[in-house]
């Protein structure tokens, strides 16, 4: 995981290295400062004259004072630089992670996209990246700083007086053991607590979503009981967990106090016993400072450790996105030219996952000539959409071959193929932006003339021109400010702008009234006659005139023929037809 993630550091390697370097400098300064301070006290304040009487020495005082001020400024400089580089490195790392993920998703095939839910992909690119950014910053700052601080301070303590350094060797294991013990008992409880939190959220969420059910069936009291029992569970577990954690601060304080007392006693004895030669009073003061530094950083380190463990899940989720291998690739020397809009399915079978028991499509053979209009009819779940999505190679067949313009779709360059095959998806999307900007997706160099023409073909011009701002009308995200029928017509216009060799409409006129539906069909027949048109529809009237109608049933072709032929030969077709004509309206 770490190797994969560290690939995203890239150009921020230098900053990532400089930050710890400057931190090391800052730490060194912070450790030296108490040492010089000890000198200042010994040589300045405590300066003894020849008789051994403390008289102080102003010159020394000022000399060491200046050195110390310089140290502080250098330390501040180092610290500031370290902070600056750490910010640069961590935000840069986040930038690259986001970019890598977004790029990876752009290279995903439909199959890859289906694997992750949209919501989870979004969380991974937003929340998880922010988590890792924080963790990374912590790693190159505090996770470097604290151990260094501990090592430096400890070695200084030992340097001042080896025996006194031993105090820490005795005390630290106690602290470590205590912290580990607390973690060991608290961690499982917290994990359990988070799980129950999920349950609590679920209860609230289901209550909100089903609020009409709750009220209709007057089950408010039962819902309350459900909630109270979960919140009660949280209460008891959280109390247990927090009670254990409550021992954290007293433990820490106890260790600090113990160290102070030990240092005081041993220090005093050493100074008095040696007459100040084994340990000076200034050094004892430094000793106190080191004590605090060691223990404080120890605490910091344990917290960083916990934070890093917590961000592990985010890292794992990101790596999943990064290591997903796109399952569609161009072949080695892809074809860049597509002859015409003819399509041929040869023994095509398909399933969405390799281990599925049932195939979505099995043994499909179709032959469509360039320029033909083909209708596809079939009940929900008969794999109509699946069938057409094989033509622009949104998915690869499980077995069998799809030919476009006489060549296997796998031999084409994907971009070339998809430019030639324009597909209006069933679940279509408009993006936030003006109508014009949305239409330009089809062809970014389209002139206003071409745009208008495409919209006329799709019967979209008529309503666009009624908008006060016409083609500059702003479409809200998801196209919420236009009606379903209008949205569908815009999507058709967008697809037409590609001037495709093959145009696929996947149930794209379901919300359009029958009259408009008919005029769209007529426009296409007369203005783009050479384009192969494939129309999936629920309404028989939408496909009635097609050169050829394919009836799909549970992933197999049940019948092919013209409207009249199918009325004769296909029971399914006849059934659908009569059900739609019921009431004797003709």
């Amino acid at each position: 995981m770490i190797r994969k993630l560290s690939k995203s550091v890239r150009e921020y390697k230098l900053a990532s290295l400089l930050s710890p370097l400057f931190i090391a400098g800052e730490v060194a300064m912070e450790v030296i400062i108490p040492l010089i301070l000890a000198e200042l006290i010994n040589q300045g304040i405590n300066f003894k004259n020849a008789e051994g009487v403390i008289v102080g020495n102003q010159a020394n005082l000022i000399k060491y004072g200046l050195i110390l001020v310089a140290c502080c400024i250098i330390s501040m400089l180092f610290g500031t630089l370290a902070g600056d580089f750490a910010a640069k490195a961590s935000t840069g790392f986040a930038h690259n992670l986001r970019e890598d993920m977004f790029y990876a998703v752009q290279n995903y095939s439909f199959k890859n996209i289906d694997k992750f839910s949209t919501a989870s992909l979004i969380t991974r690119m937003t929340t998880d990246v922010t988590n890792l950014q924080n963790a990374y910053q912590m790693l190159i700052r505090i996770a470097i700083r604290s151990p260094l601080m501990i090592i430096f301070s400890l070695s200084m303590a030992v340097y001042i007086h080896p025996q006194m350094g031993l105090i820490f060797l005795c005390v630290l294991p106690v602290l470590v053991a205590g912290l580990l013990l607390i973690m060991k008992f608290a961690f499982p409880l917290f994990e359990k607590m988070f799980r129950i939190y999920d349950t609590l959220n679920r209860v609230v969420q289901e209550n909100l979503r089903g609020v009409r059910v709750v009220k209709s069936f007057v089950s408010e009291d039962a819902e309350r009981e459900k909630f109270h029992s979960v919140s009660g569970e949280i209460y008891s577990i959280a109390t247990k967990a927090e009670t254990i954690v409550a021992f954290n601060a007293p433990l820490m304080q106890g260790v600090v106090f113990t160290c102070m007392l030990l240092v005081s006693y041993i220090g005093a004895r050493l100074i008095v016993g040696s007459g100040g030669t084994a340990l000076s009073e200034g050094e004892l003061t430094s000793m106190f400072t080191y004590t605090m530094q060691i223990l404080m950083n120890f605490m910091m380190l344990s917290m960083v450790f916990i934070m890093l463990i917590m961000s592990r899940a985010s890292g794992r989720r990101i790596v999943e996105v990064l290591s997903e291998v796109p399952d569609l690739k161009n072949c080695d020397s892809p074809e860049k030219e597509i002859e015409d809009g003819s399509i041929r399915f040869e023994n095509v079978s398909f399933s969405y996952s390799a281990d599925a028991e049932k195939l979505c499509l099995s043994g499909v053979n179709i032959d469509i000539k360039s320029g033909e209009t083909v209708g596809i009819i079939g009940s929900t779940g008969s794999s109509k959409s699946t069938l057409v999505s094989l033509i622009p190679r949104l998915y690869d067949t499980t077995s069998g071959t799809v030919y476009v313009g006489g060549k296997d779709v796998r031999d084409y360059d994907l971009t070339v193929l998809r430019d030639a095959v324009s597909m209006v998806l069933q679940k279509n999307v408009l993006f936030s932006g003006t109508i014009r900007e949305n239409l330009l997706w089809g062809n970014e160099n389209a002139t206003d003339e071409e745009i208008r023409h495409a919209c006329k073909l799709a019967c979209a011009d008529e309503f666009i021109s009624t908008f006060p701002e016409g083609y500059d009308t702003y479409i809200e995200e998801g196209g919420t400010n236009v009606s379903g029928g209008q949205k569908q017509r815009l999507c058709i216009a967008r697809a037409l702008l590609k001037s495709p060799k093959i145009l696929i409409l996947d149930d794209s006129t379901s919300a359009v009234d029958t009259a408009t539906d008919a005029s769209i069909r007529e426009a296409m027949a007369s203005f783009i006659p050479s384009t192969t048109k494939i129309i999936i529809a629920q309404r028989i009237s939408s496909v009635e005139f097609a050169d050829k109608i394919i009836v799909l049933d549970e992933g197999e072709i049940s019948a092919v023929g013209t409207h009249e032929e199918l009325l004769e030969t296909s029971d399914i077709y006849k059934e659908v037809y009569t059900s739609q004509q019921k009431g004797g309206l003709k």
Partner: protein, 637 residues
């Protein structure tokens, strides 16, 4: 397991002051704590005082080691350490007392916090159950959810951490200030001066950081919005070969975010070293200035030991000062959360002025009388002002008289609705989205109340009927099936918790759901999760029909599902619906015309008015709006 003290940069540099609402929320919260936990809270306060004093004592002890013991003993040839030892033991005792105080403080705080958390959660949810549908229709689920997650969590942090920390900081500052003052006046003045300087510097850095954080939030919002939109439309991107273009736009947003995030983080990062090193500087300067004063032997000059203690005091004095601002701003932020929680708790509950109740009944000598046992016969118990009570049999007759309705005052969405549904009749509503089909049914079960006009149920004005009883007499199958986590049986039993297993199975059979349930791995005990994600759409609908069927209500409201399901299940669902409708008054909100043809009456709605009514044949004959819809010349949805 609190994380390391993190700056809250978004709030840094903001002026720390409370507005009116925040101080109201603070008072209310204080009242919450004070009312339930008065003595415990006082105990916590005492513990904090003890802790602060003990930690100050530890600093003064270090000074006394130099002054009282080392400097005294250092000259003697045969030093007597017994006094030092007893001083250490004494201090050790004080320390132990301090440690116990921290422990007590923490434990009591855990108790207070967790209890308040439980109370807040329970109160919030309990109250939420009483809120009218209007509340849920006007607030997004995400917003409501965040009261239970984010807002409660910030509240927890505030009660368990920020408030005690702030108290402790303030006490510590006061204590050390006194200590410093007692030790040396000149040095104290010097420290005050220096602290003022430090606050000025850090304040300006913090305000810069706050500004950049606001900008960063904006860029973050922009890129998150972009990611959201593009990932949702990823398939369209691929179909249009738009990957490169999308990447380009993404890159520019990503670069912008990187730049602003860098600036924002930079200022936060350098704040630490600046405060830290200014602290060092202060430390050094005190030593130098103190030393010079001592050497010069000026009046009020400190002793050597005094300087050493003073150094420790000054450090302990400065540290909390830098934290107070931060703690205060995190409290203000949490108050915003508390405010939102209180706002939810203050939402007005659904009112119920109804007094007519639904009771079990039986005919005794041809007179309808109330009976405690379950008879399958129900009656409306109608107490009158003159003390008499009448009983009306529950039949399921519903009438609308000139009903008008507006979600927002002044914007009437239903006009002059008159309709009459006799017991056992099937009434269908047809019309475009937004025509008011669902709204009419919302009026029958009083999810919303009429603006004008009247609705009578079995001849009784529904305003007089207790809401719970009214709703019990109405079964509902909604457009979106909402199942709850639990077993299949529990879900069916939802509308009648005391139903026997046989009743559950009977309801499932009626709804045509028994077949697929028996084929589930654990049958009726199969656990459903995530709104029945392990079932197909059609199966979920069958379950929701069974759920409505088990209560056997005389009136049903059926909102047809719009999402398409496979043909075979659809036939099953249709048959289940038909079985459910038999013998009941039914209101159907139709999304497909094929299902309304056998209704007794079809109401065609347009813009909140009934524009056509009649049977299918009559309406076809009329060649009006219904005819257009039926022949597909008008868009239905």
């Amino acid at each position: 397991m609190a994380g390391p003290m993190r700056n809250n940069p978004a709030n840094m540099g903001k002026k720390i002051s409370l507005d009116k609402n925040q101080s109201k929320a603070l008072k209310r919260l204080a009242a919450y704590i004070w009312k339930g936990y008065k003595f415990r809270f006082i105990l916590v306060f005492l513990c904090i005082v003890v802790t602060s004093v003990v930690s100050a004592a530890s600093a003064s002890f270090v000074g006394s080691v130099f002054d009282k013991y080392i400097s005294v003993l250092i000259g003697s040839a045969n030093p007597d350490y017994s006094e030092l030892v007893s001083a250490i033991l004494r201090t050790g005792g004080i320390f132990l007392f301090g440690i116990i105080a921290i422990l007590v403080q923490n434990l009591v705080m855990v108790f207070i916090t967790q209890n308040i958390m439980k109370d807040v959660r329970d109160d919030m949810f309990s109250h939420m159950q009483t809120l009218p549908i209007r509340y849920f229709d006007t607030h997004t689920h995400g917003d409501i959810m965040s009261h239970y997650t984010n807002d409660t969590d910030t509240l927890r942090q505030m009660i368990s951490q920020s408030i005690p920390q702030l108290m402790s900081s303030v006490i510590t500052i006061v204590v050390y200030f006194c200590f410093m003052l007692f030790t040396n006046v000149w040095l104290t003045l010097f420290v005050l001066l220096f602290v003022g300087l430090t606050l000025m510097i850090t304040g300006s850095v913090a305000s810069k950081s706050g500004k950049h954080f606001m900008i960063q939030q904006q860029s973050l919002g922009k890129i998150n919005g972009y990611i959201q939109e593009m990932i949702s439309g990823q398939k369209v991107i691929k179909v249009f070969n738009h990957e490169e273009k999308t990447k380009e736009n993404f890159d520019s947003l990503n670069d912008e975010l990187c730049e602003t995030a860098y600036k924002a983080n930079k200022f936060v990062n350098i704040l630490g070293p600046i405060t830290g090193n200014l602290g060092h500087l202060q430390y050094v300067l005190i030593a130098v200035v103190g030393g010079i004063l001592a050497i010069a032997g000026l009046p009020f000059a400190p002793s050597l030991g005094a300087i050493v203690s003073f150094l420790l005091y000054s450090k302990s004095f400065t540290m909390p000062i830098n934290q107070v601002a931060q703690q205060a701003s995190s409290i203000i932020m949490a108050l915003a959360g508390a405010q939102r929680i209180f706002a939810l708790m203050d939402e007005e509950s659904e009112t119920d002025e109804g007094y007519v109740t639904l009771v079990n009944a039986k005919y005794e000598n041809d007179i309808l009388t109330e009976t405690p046992e379950h008879t399958g016969l129900w009656a409306w118990k109608h107490p009158h002002e003159d003390g008499t009570t009448t009983y009306t049999e529950l039949k399921g007759e519903v009438r609308f008289f000139d009903a008008d309705f507006a979600y927002v005052k002044g914007k009437t969405v239903l006009h002059d609705i008159n309709l009459y549904a006799e017991p056992g009749q099937k009434v269908a509503f047809v019309g475009a989205t937004g025509a008011g089909k669902t709204t009419i049914t919302n009026l029958i079960n009083r999810f919303y109340d009429l603006e004008d006009g009247k609705v009578r149920y079995d001849g009784i004005n529904i305003k007089k009927i207790k809401k719970a009883d009214l709703r019990r007499s109405l079964g509902v199958v909604l457009q979106d099936t909402n199942l709850f986590t639990g077993t299949v049986a529990e879900n069916i039993r939802y509308s009648k918790p005391d139903a026997t297993d046989d009743e559950v199975i009977a309801a499932a059979k009626l709804a045509n759901a028994h077949g697929f349930i028996s084929r589930l791995p654990k049958g009726y005990d199969t656990l459903l999760e995530n709104n029945g994600a392990n079932l197909s759409q059609g199966q979920r609908q069958l379950l929701s029909i069974a759920r409505a069927a088990i209560a056997d209500p005389p009136v049903m409201i059926l909102d047809e599902a719009t999402s398409s399901i496979d043909t075979r299940t659809e036939a099953l669902v249709q048959r289940g619906m038909d079985a459910l409708m038999k013998g009941r008054t039914v209101f159907v909100i139709a999304h497909r015309l094929s299902t309304v043809q056998n209704s007794d009456v079809i109401m065609v709605l347009e813009k909140g008015r009934i524009i056509e009514r009649g049977s299918h044949d009559e309406l076809i004959e009329k060649k009006g709006k219904y005819y257009e819809l039926y022949t597909g010349d008008t868009e239905l949805d």
